[in-house]
Assembly symmetry: D2
Homo-oligomer: 319 residues x 4
C-alpha cells in the first residue's frame, strides 16, 4: 500500500483490546479494524500511544500488529509504532514491523535518556537508514519530554529522512510555522503530491489544522467515531469550514468521555484509554473495556458517564 503514501486523511491510532487475563483479544481487534474501515478512514496507526504500546510486551506488540495488518488486507496503509527509548531498541521493533508487513514506521525522539538535538537528528537518520521503511516522526513532548523544533523537522523532511510528522505536541503555533515553511495551505495543496505528510494528533482542532494546511489527523477518539472524523476531515478539506466546525464541536463534546474516571483516583491516561475501550464495548466492537497494568479500571459510575456521552453524540440509541 505504499502507493498511498504520503498519507492524507484520517488515520486513527488503533486501540488494542485485551481479554480478562491481559492478553490481546484478536477477535475484538479484527472487529475494530472493520469498524474503522466501515467509517471510511484513510489509514491505520497500530502500536501508538492510544494502542497502549507502552504497556504491551514485545510479543503482544507483534500479535497486535499482525492482527491489524491481516484484517486490513491491504485496503489502507498501516503505520506501525516503534516506540522505545533509544535507537538500538527502536531498530529491534522496526525489524518486527517490517517482517509483519507494515507500510511505514512511526518513532518518537529518544526518551528516558536525555538527548541533545543533534542526537535526536542522528536517531531519526539511523532509524531511517537501517529500517528500510518510510519513517514518520512522532512529536509527543508529554511522553518523551522534548519537542521537535521546526528547523529540525524541516531539515529531516528536506533531506528525505522523514516521510511525515505526527504532531501531538499540542503546539499549534509551532505547527503553523512548520506548515508555512513547507509552502503553506495552498503551496502544499495545489502543488504535486507532497513528499511530506503532516498529521495532527490534536483531535479537538482538526478543522483548524486542515485550514492551516495539515494533511490529516490521527485521532484517538476516531476509534469510537471514525465516520465523524471522516466527515470532519472531508468538510475541512473541501473548504466547508462551517460544516467542519459543527462536526468538530460534536466530537469535542464526545471527547468529554476521557474525564470519566475521577482525577483523584486514576491517571488522565488511564481514564481516556479506559473510556475509549468501554465505548467500543458499548458499541459492540470490543468484548472487554480492560486496560493494561498498572492502570486503574473505570468504575461502573465512570462507564455510565461514557455511555451518556455516546448517547448525547447520537452513537447509541436512546433506550
Amino acid at each position: 500500500m505504499s502507493s498511498s503514501l504520503p498519507l492524507r486523511g484520517v488515520v486513527p491510532p488503533v486501540c488494542t483490546p485485551l481479554d480478562a487475563s491481559g492478553e490481546v483479544d484478536t477477535a475484538s481487534l479484527a472487529r475494530l479494524v472493520e469498524h474503522l474501515l466501515d467509517g471510511g478512514v484513510h489509514g491505520l496507526f497500530a502500536l501508538g500511544s492510544s494502542s497502549e504500546v507502552a504497556f504491551l510486551t514485545d510479543r503482544q506488540r507483534a500479535v497486535a500488529l499482525e492482527t491489524v495488518i491481516e484484517a486490513v488486507a491491504g485496503r489502507v496503509p498501516v503505520l506501525a509504532g516503534v516506540i522505545d527509548m533509544t535507537t538500538p531498541r527502536v531498530l529491534a521493533h522496526a525489524e518486527t514491523a517490517r517482517a509483519a508487513g507494515a507500510d511505514a514506521l512511526v518513532a518518537t525522539a529518544p526518551f528516558y535518556a536525555r538527548t541533545h538535538p543533534a542526537e535526536i537528528a542522528r536517531h531519526f537518520r539511523t532509524v531511517r537508514a537501517r529500517a528500510g521503511l518510510p519513517l514518520y516522526a512522532y512529536d509527543l513532548p508529554v511522553s518523551v519530554h522534548s519537542k521537535l523544533s521546526v528547523p529540525l523537522v524541516r531539515e529531516l523532511a528536506e533531506d528525505g529522512t522523514l516521510a511525515g510528522l505526527k504532531d501531538s505536541s499540542g503546539d499549534e503555533g509551532s505547527l503553523r510555522r512548520l506548515l508555512v515553511e513547507l509552502g503553506g495551505r495552498h503551496g502544499r495543496a495545489e502543488g504535486p503530491a507532497p513528499s511530506f505528510s503532516v498529521l495532527t494528533g490534536s483531535e479537538l482542532t482538526v478543522d483548524a489544522a486542515v485550514l492551516a494546511g495539515a494533511d490529516g489527523v490521527v485521532p484517538g477518539l476516531g476509534n469510537v467515531d471514525p465516520a465523524g472524523y471522516v466527515r470532519l476531515y472531508e468538510a475541512a478539506r473541501d473548504g466547508d469550514f462551517e460544516r467542519a466546525a459543527g462536526e468538530q464541536e460534536r466530537l469535542v463534546k464526545l471527547f468529554g468521555m476521557v474525564e470519566a474516571g475521577p482525577e483523584e483516583e486514576m491517571g488522565r491516561n488511564s481514564s481516556a484509554i479506559g473510556a475509549f475501550k468501554h465505548a467500543l464495548r458499548l458499541l459492540g466492537v470490543f468484548a472487554h473495556g480492560t486496560t493494561a497494568a498498572p492502570q486503574i479500571q473505570l468504575s461502573d459510575a465512570s462507564v455510565a458517564l461514557v455511555e451518556q456521552r455516546l448517547r448525547e453524540a447520537g452513537l447509541l440509541q436512546t433506550r
Copy 2:
C-alpha cells in the same frame, strides 16, 4: 468606553518605547497609539507582557498607561494589565489603573508563590470584588507556571467574576473545549452579545481561533502590522477562511522576526520584544528600539534581519 465591552476584534498589547536612559518615551508611545488606531484595531491592552510590564517600575507603568489612555481619548476601550505576584500587589496596581481611567483590568494567576487552584479562584474573586472594574483573566503558563483549567474559567465566567479571558497558554485543544462549553461557534455568535469575551494571545493561529468561536486576538505582532491583523480577523469573522488563512500565513512569515537575536546570546523574550521595537523604529513610529534591563539589545545584524522581514511582508518599500 465600557459600552464596547465585551470586547471583540483585534486588541494589541501596546509595546512601551524607551529612550536611551530607559525611561518611557511618551512621544513615541502616542505615535504608536495612532499607528494602531489607524490600523483599525478594536481595543488596546496596555501593560501586558509585550509592553515589558515586568520590566517597568510602578512609576513607569503609570506613565505608560496614562499616555495610552490620553492618546486614545475614548476611541476604543483600553485594558490595563495589573501584573504582579499576588492579590494585595495586584490590587495596588488596580487602584492606579482605575485612577488613570482604564476600562478593564487584566490579571494573571499568582506567581512566584505557588498557589492551589482554590487560591487562584479566590485571587480573581478578590480582585474583581475590590477593584471596581471588569476583569480579564490572563492565562500565561509560560510566565506564571500554572494553567487556568477549563472548569475554573467556566466557573468564574458564569458567576460574573470574569468579563473575559486572554488565552496565551498555546493550548488550543483546551481553548476549544472552553468555547464549546460556552456555547460553541454558533451558540456564541448568534445569541445575544456574549457576556464573556474570549481573546486568543496566539498570534499565529487567529483564523483557527475565530473558526473555533474566539471573539478576538491580542497579537504582540499587531504592534507592527495592526492593519494586517484587522484584515485577518475580519475575514475570519465573515467566514472567508481562505482569505483569512492567506493573511495569517503572511503574518506567520513576518513573525519570523522574533528569532532575529541568536539563541546563544539572548533570551527569546528579549529577541522578540527587541524585534518588534526595532520594526516600529524602522517604520518611523519609535525613536529607539531599546529594551529594558537586563535584556540584551539586538545587534546590527539582527536588526537587518528584522528589516528584511518587514520588506518581505510589504511593510517597507524596497530601496
Copy 3:
C-alpha cells in the same frame, strides 16, 4: 553591622505577622525579633519568601523592614529581600531597603519574563553597581524557574558582584560542586575570612551543608525554633556531627508541621507559612496566625496538628 559580613551562622527569614485586616502587626513582629535574638541567631533575613514578601505591598514591605531593623538595633546584620521580576523593579526596592538601613540585599534571578543566563548575570551586576549595598543571590528555582549555575555563581563571586549565595535550590550536588570550587571545607574554613558567604536554605540538611563547607543556614523553621538551629549549626561547625545529626532529626520531625493543611484544600506554601505563623501564635510570639490573600487559612484541625508537633519537639509543655 557590615563588619559582621560575610555572614556565618543561622539567619532566619523573618515571618511577617498580619493582623485580622491583613496589615503588618508590628508589635508581633518586634516580639519575633526578640524571640530570634534570644535564640542566638547570627543575622536576620527580612522580606524573604517565608516573610510572604510576594504578598506584601510596597508599603507593607517598608513597614516590615523598618520594624525589623528598628527592633534589631544593630545587634546582628539584617539582610533585606528585594524580590521582584526584573532589574528596574528590584532597584526600586533596593532604594527603599538602603534608606531603611539594611546591611545587605538579597535578589533572585528575574522571573515572569524568561531570561538568558547572560541576562541573569547582567541583572546581578546592575543591581550591585547601582544599589550601593552588598548583594546576595537567592537561588530559588521553585519560584523563579531558573537555576543559577555553578560557573555563573563562581564568576559573580570572583568578580565581587556577589557577597554571598542563599541556595534554596535543593540541589545539594550542585552546592557541593560550588563549595569545592571555592576551596572546599578546609580551604574555606582555614583560610582568611571568606569573601563569599554560602548559606543553605535547605533546613532539613544543615548538618550535611556545614559538613560540605557551607557558612550557614536560612531556615524558615528557624522562626519557630531558633535555638534549635543555633545548636545544630554550632555542633556541625565544631565537627560534632553526631550531636548535629540528632538535633537535625528533631527539627526534621518538627518540620512535619508544614503538612498540617490538607493537600486537596490548599497549597503547600500556604500550609507551611500558616503552620509557622500558628506555631508562633501558640508560642505566644504572634497575636494571629493569619496568612495573606489569596492564601487559604489553616483549619482548627490543622492548627491542632501544628500544636502536636510543637509538643513532640518539646517546645510546648504537655498540659
Copy 4:
C-alpha cells in the same frame, strides 16, 4: 548472595563496554567487574542508567547481565535493572534477570505513559508479587518525570513490597525526611539489621547521605574509582566525617570529567557516560570508550580533559 541483603555500602552501577560495532564487549566487562571488586565494593548494580540500559536491546541486556553475574561468581550480590515503561514490560525483563541469577531487581516508576500515584504503587506491588525476587525502587525523576513521595516509599517499605530504595532524585531534603521516618541515623544503625536499604545515587554527597542514615551509595563515578568510594563510605560509616569529606571533595573534582563534552555539541548524559568509559579505557580496563547510538562520541580534546582529571586525582601516573 541474598544472605548479604539488605545491602550496605558501595554498589556501583556497572558501565557496559561496547566494541566498535556497538556490541557488548564481554572481555572488558569482566575486567571491569574485577576492577570493582578489587576496589572493595559491596555489591554491583547491572543494567542501570550508567550501564546505558536504555540503549541496550533485550539481547544485549541479557549478555551484559550474564557476564556480570558470571564474573562476580557470588562474591557480592548483583542487582539487575529491569528498566522499561510499564508493568508488563518490566515483568518480561524480570523473568530474564531471574533466569540469569540476579539477587534482586531494580525498577523505576512507569514512564512514557503518565501514571497516577495509586498506579505507581500498583506497579511496584505487581512486580514484587510476580517477579519472585527482592525489589528496589529506583527514584529517578530526571528520566521518568515523577518523584516517589516519602509516604509512598514508606508504605511500600512497611508492607514488604520494597527491599530498598535507590534515590537518584537529588532531593536530599526528601531523603532526610524518609530516613527520619524510618528511624533516623541511630534508630536504623543500632537496631537489628534494617529490613529496608536506602542507597543514594547522589555521588557528590555521600558523606552527607551516610551522616543522614543512608545505608550506601550507587555511584556512577565508582566505576572509575571504586576504592575511593569505599574509603569515603567507610570513613563516613565509622563517623570520621573529616576524612570522609576530604575523600568526597577529591571525588567531586574527579567528577568534573562529566563535563568533558561541550554542552553545545552533545547531551550531558552522553558526555558523562563517555567520560566514564574513556577513563576506564585510559585505566586499562576497557578496550574502547564507545557509547551507544544515538549518542555523540567524545572528541580527542574531550578525552584529554578526562585524562587530566584522572591525573589530578592521582589515578594515572604523571608522565
